[in-house]
């Protein structure tokens, strides 16, 4: 399975709630990177689940690279 190298890594821009709501209004894709067991009980509306440990070229192929992507986990810690 292909994996991401450090050259593929783009640092994400940190945002807060207000920016998230604005991006969501503009068609952003929201991605929860927690394990499926954490995603299933409750998640943000429309969020897809791409667990951090399973991130690779194949799993992220579902994302539309022409639209903003917002990732989130449980909290800031």
């Amino acid at each position: 399975m292909p994996s991401l190298s450090y050259r593929d890594i783009t640092m994400a821009t940190p945002i807060g709630l207000d920016q998230l709501l604005e991006l969501a209004d503009h068609g952003a894709q929201v991605v929860e990177v927690l394990p499926a067991d954490d995603y299933a009980p409750v998640h943000l509306p429309g969020a897809i689940n791409l667990p951090l440990r399973q991130l690779d070229e194949r799993s992220t192929a579902v994302l539309d690279r022409t639209r903003p992507i917002v990732v989130y986990c449980w909290d800031s810690l």
């Binding site: 821009t13 940190p14 998640h43 943000l44 917002v70 909290d75």
Partner: protein
């Protein structure tokens, strides 16, 4: 790419819509009501007491201009009424809860502290609503 750094807990704590298997679980945010009297620190006690008497609650919540909870003002503290401001009879820094907490946990914490009312706020301390212990216990699974 963007990182919503405050994360899922921040979303939940703002009482925003969620999806998932437990999205309909009874939480403080689902039980709370929004009609509690709000007052500013400089509001005269007579006016606040009148508002409380016209509400289903025995208290008002004192907030700043942006809705941040500053204190709780029991009706009993406003008697006898006067035109003095409410700030010096308010109970400062009341215990508050986040709206995504399960009703049974909030009810238990209220019971442990012999409190009858839960005040729900955002993580920034802005007032969302209030719920009685009885309503929380009734909603518990």
């Amino acid at each position: 790419m963007y990182d919503y750094v405050p994360g899922k807990v921040d979303w939940l704590a703002h009482n925003l819509e969620v999806e998932g298997e437990r999205a309909g679980a009874p939480t403080l945010g689902r039980v709370m009501r929004h009609d509690v009297v709000r007052c500013a620190p400089t509001d005269p006690r007579t006016a606040v007491l009148e508002s409380i008497k016209g509400s289903p609650y025995p208290f008002a919540v004192m907030t700043s201009a942006d809705g941040t909870v500053l204190g709780r003002v029991p009706a009993s503290a406003l008697d006898p009424p006067s035109d003095e401001p409410v700030w010096d009879v308010a109970e400062p820094g009341p215990k508050t809860f986040r709206p995504h907490h399960a009703v049974e946990n909030v009810a238990r914490q209220l019971a442990e502290k012999d409190l009858r009312w839960a005040i729900a706020t955002t993580p920034e301390g802005r007032l969302l609503g209030v719920a009685s212990r009885e309503d929380l216990e009734r909603a518990a699974p």
